[in-house]
């Protein structure tokens, strides 16, 4: 079997195992958290009587492993179940229905950011490696380091101040709904996307630069130099192909971050993404929703890493054609 295909199949199989472990870890953590769904919803107004009625209605009075088995049984059949909220009433909210629009929003924002951030950081990184120790290198380094070292919400508020309050070019609120058209959606999501770009570019750019510089001392680079290959060509043609593995890993990290880690930006811009949903669901102990979010995040992560590994294998002949 072709090594790439083999890796893909192997990884996908292992990915399922990972998903299973994730679901157990999340379920266990939720069980360990103090209080339950009924207490979280009723707050100060909870009486033992109403809590008991609540728990009976949504089946929380049964042992934990029964609930877990029931839930995972449903998932294996492709049914993510219903949110605890409204479970007793006649309007049940299915988890997939609840998550779908928010997942779309999250992927929309992630894609918008990635399209700008990935090429930009590669370009900046290659240039920084090319003109190492020049003023360009130092300035790009300092600027990207400053943006990466500033809390996300700080950048978000500053952008909001300059581009939405002082100059009303953008909206402070990125509220979108299913009826928002594509352009409007992009316009509304522009400030969050810029914020995230500033946050992730530094990491990817620095890794690109480091990976390239690391290779400059290798014999084939010295050879290329001795041969009289121009610096630019040597870096792009000889160093870059060998640097793809660490670069791809970092890109995968950051793309995964765009999907799973943007809850703070969502809060600041009031963008209805999936991170906010998961935080809400955790604080209300809404297990089916938390689990579904966690599985989506985990799957995203697994697939992105698989891609990074494939890149590592393809770009390294020793891994591609094992002895």
């Amino acid at each position: 079997m072709h090594p790439v295909l083999k890796t893909v199949l192997q990884r996908l199989g292992l990915g399922l195992l990972t998903l299973f472990v994730v679901s157990v870890v999340i379920f266990a953590s939720l069980e360990l958290l103090p209080g339950g769904f009924a207490e979280a919803i009723l707050g100060q107004g909870a009486t033992p009587e109403t809590v008991a009625a609540f728990n009976r209605e949504i089946g929380l009075d049964r042992p934990a492993f029964v609930r877990y088995l029931e839930w995972i049984g449903g998932v294996l059949m492709g049914d993510f179940g219903y949110s605890y909220a409204g479970l007793g009433g006649s309007i049940k909210r299915s988890v997939s229905e609840l998550i779908a629009p928010r997942l779309y929003n999250t992927f929309f924002l992630a894609a918008m950011t990635a399209i700008v951030a990935v090429p930009l950081s590669l370009l900046l990184g290659v240039l920084a490696a090319l003109y190492r120790n020049s003023w360009y290198d130092r300035i790009v380094n300092s600027v990207t380091l400053t943006t990466i070292a500033t809390p996300e919400f700080f950048i978000a508020y500053l952008l909001m101040f300059f581009f939405a309050i002082k100059n009303k070019w953008f909206y402070t609120l990125s509220t979108v709904s299913g009826s928002t058209d594509l352009w409007e959606h992009m316009y509304r999501a522009a400030l969050p996307a810029i914020t995230l770009t500033l946050v992730i570019v530094a990491h990817m750019m620095r890794m690109t630069r480091a990976a390239l510089i690391n290779l400059l001392a290798s014999p084939y680079m010295e050879m290329a130099q001795l041969k009289g290959v121009p610096r630019r060509e040597a870096i792009i043609k000889h160093a870059l192909p060998n640097a793809w593995a660490p670069i791809a890993t970092v890109i995968a990290f950051n793309l995964a971050y765009l999907v799973v880690g943007v809850v703070v930006v969502e809060v600041v811009y009031v963008y209805p993404g999936i991170g906010q949903l998961m935080v809400d669901a955790v604080s209300s102990r809404d297990m089916p929703v938390v689990q579904a979010c966690a599985l989506i995040f985990a799957a995203t992560y697994i697939l992105l890493n698989l891609s990074a590994d494939i890149v590592s294998i393809i770009t390294n002949p020793r891994l591609l054609h094992p002895k």
Partner: protein
């Protein structure tokens, strides 16, 4: 004021109501010797105060969760309360801006049999958003929703006193109570009890969102937004001015403030106290501050040592410098409490004497009386009780040192605070959003058999008075009883009422309003029907 001016003012009033055109007014003004510019200014400033129909009001609210439900029994906070009750629905009665109870879906209500029986008449001609008239059957079904055996409703315990709930004809509802309760009309004004249409199977239809309010439901996305359109057939005169009202859940206070400053919302609740001075300088916005019924408290279990001694309790009450806490932690936004849970604006409220202000000598004296030189105890706090609970407790610890009292402040986790700490630990931080009547507040938290008696305080005299006052219809006698109850609680209870908090909210200057109600945030949660645009 001369005659021409009087005439001009009368004309102005007519003009802004649309009975006189602006041009006619200007001509009249010019004829009486006023310049054109002055006439325009007069017209504009007069027009500003007058309600105008139309416009879209967008409100940013600091609450809202994806678990929010249309079921009114489960409304947790201001988002569901203001949007799904105050905008969309009506209860049997409502509390007006002065704190009095007036009819809403009910046109009138009468007590009988020493206030043990209450007869409510449903308003004539009132309809649901789908055009169906509201009947007594709908009212019965709406309230029975909270009473059911397996009800999860927050209003369940409120309605426990009802022994029988019956419709008597199409527009009369009769309540029979376990004992007399002169304040019963207040109880049914609660935001958990909107009137909803009855379904064919006898249960109530809470799912569809069809109610009786000034606005009908357009779209509700839990934890994100709720939008409403004007109800053209609303039953109240002069209420519900906007064409459309939208509520946005913006939990981050900075984001909420920015949305207000950039004009994307016109109203925000829960302003950031730290930056209030800056916000006040915005030329386009007004900050409103209302001291409501809500109060931040520390409660001790009076059955636990050392709090079982009233002298120890009082020594502790004298050991806190409430003015200092109010100034440092709450930046002056609130009113200092005096260990009485009844807000000064509530009917029958008194200010018991002597006031429990900071007095280290008195505290030491009381400790000595209790046979103690020094006192040391644990105080469990978390900001889940109220924002600022931890800071206040740390500040109090410093004050109490001078009184020979050592407070050991323990910071508990926010998560699960109400389940694991409140009612469980002997001395904790807590919060009440307050109740509009003395009886309601006392029954909820200080009666011997109250489910939320967080001080575990059982005073026979107090409980006797509580029951007696309920059915007392003579206002003066009732006032005397309530005054005595507040005094007993002040002198003997386990409550440290640190302060009454203020609702600090901000809005665009283009919005107009009447007197702002103090019973809940957002103008008694009914901002959508009470406010209007002036320009």
């Amino acid at each position: 004021m001369n005659e021409t001016q009087n005439k001009l003012n009368a004309a102005l009033r007519q003009a802004v109501r649309g009975k006189l055109s602006r041009r006619e007014f200007t001509q009249l003004a010019l004829a009486s010797g006023v310049t054109l510019a002055a006439a325009n200014t007069m017209f504009a400033s007069a027009a500003r105060a007058e309600p105008k129909k139309g416009g879209v009001l967008k409100i940013g609210v600091g609450h809202g969760a994806t678990t929010d439900s249309m079921d009114p029994g489960l409304y947790p906070d201001q988002f569901t309360g203001t949007a799904l009750w105050g905008t969309l629905a009506n209860s049997l009665t409502e509390i007006d801006a002065d704190g009095n109870v007036i009819g809403d879906v009910a046109e009138s209500f009468e007590p009988a049999d020493g206030a043990k029986k209450w007869v409510f008449k449903v308003r004539k001609g009132i309809t649901f958003h789908n055009g169906k008239p509201v009947t007594a059957e709908d009212v019965v079904a709406s309230l029975a929703h909270h009473q059911a055996e397996n009800s999860k409703s927050a209003a369940k315990s409120l309605l426990k006193e009802i022994t029988s709930l019956k419709a008597d004809g199409p527009d009369t509802v009769v309540f029979e109570l376990t004992g007399g309760n002169a304040d019963f009309p207040y109880t049914v004004s609660d935001y958990h009890m909107p009137i909803m249409p009855k379904k064919d199977d006898g249960s109530v239809d809470w799912e569809s969102g069809i109610r009786t309010g000034a606005y009908s439901l357009d779209k509700f996305t839990p934890g994100v937004q709720a939008s409403f359109n004007k109800n053209p057939n609303y039953h109240k005169e002069g209420k519900g001015w906007f064409d459309r009202v939208e509520f946005l859940s913006i939990k981050d206070v900075a984001a909420r403030t920015n949305a207000l400053l950039s004009g994307e919302i016109q109203y925000m609740d829960r302003c950031d106290l730290k930056t209030l001075d800056q916000l006040k300088q915005s030329p386009d916005h007004t900050v409103s501050e209302i001291t409501g019924y809500g109060h931040y408290i520390y409660v001790m279990n009076v059955t636990a040592k050392p709090f079982d001694n009233p002298d120890v309790r009082n020594a502790i009450k004298y050991s806190m410098n409430r003015d200092d806490v109010l100034e440092k932690v709450f930046l002056g936004h609130g009113t200092v409490g005096n260990d009485n849970p009844i807000a000064p604006t509530v009917k029958f409220a008194v200010d018991p004497q002597p006031r429990h202000s900071y007095n280290p000598d008195k505290a030491r004296e009381l400790l000595k009386k209790a046979g103690l030189e020094t006192l040391s105890f644990d105080l469990s706090v978390a900001d889940a009780a109220f924002a600022g609970a931890v800071d206040s407790a740390i500040l109090w610890k410093e004050h109490a040192k001078a009184c020979g009292i050592e407070i050991n402040v323990i910071r508990e986790p926010d998560d699960g605070y109400w389940d694991n700490v409140w009612l469980k630990k002997p001395f904790v931080a807590s919060y009440w959003s307050g109740r509009p009547t003395v009886d309601w507040m006392m029954t909820t938290a200080y009666a011997a058999d109250a489910a939320w008696n967080d001080t575990f305080w059982k005073n026979p005299k107090f409980n006797e008075l509580l029951i007696a006052a309920r059915s007392e219809t003579d206002e003066a006698k009732r006032a005397a009883m309530y005054a005595e109850m507040q005094q007993i609680l002040h002198d003997d209870g386990g409550l440290i009422n640190m302060l009454f908090n203020s609702y600090v909210e901000a809005h665009a200057k283009t919005l107009g309003h009447g007197k702002i109600a103090a019973n809940w945030q957002l103008d008694g949660m009914r901002i959508a029907e009470r406010w209007w645009y002036t320009a």
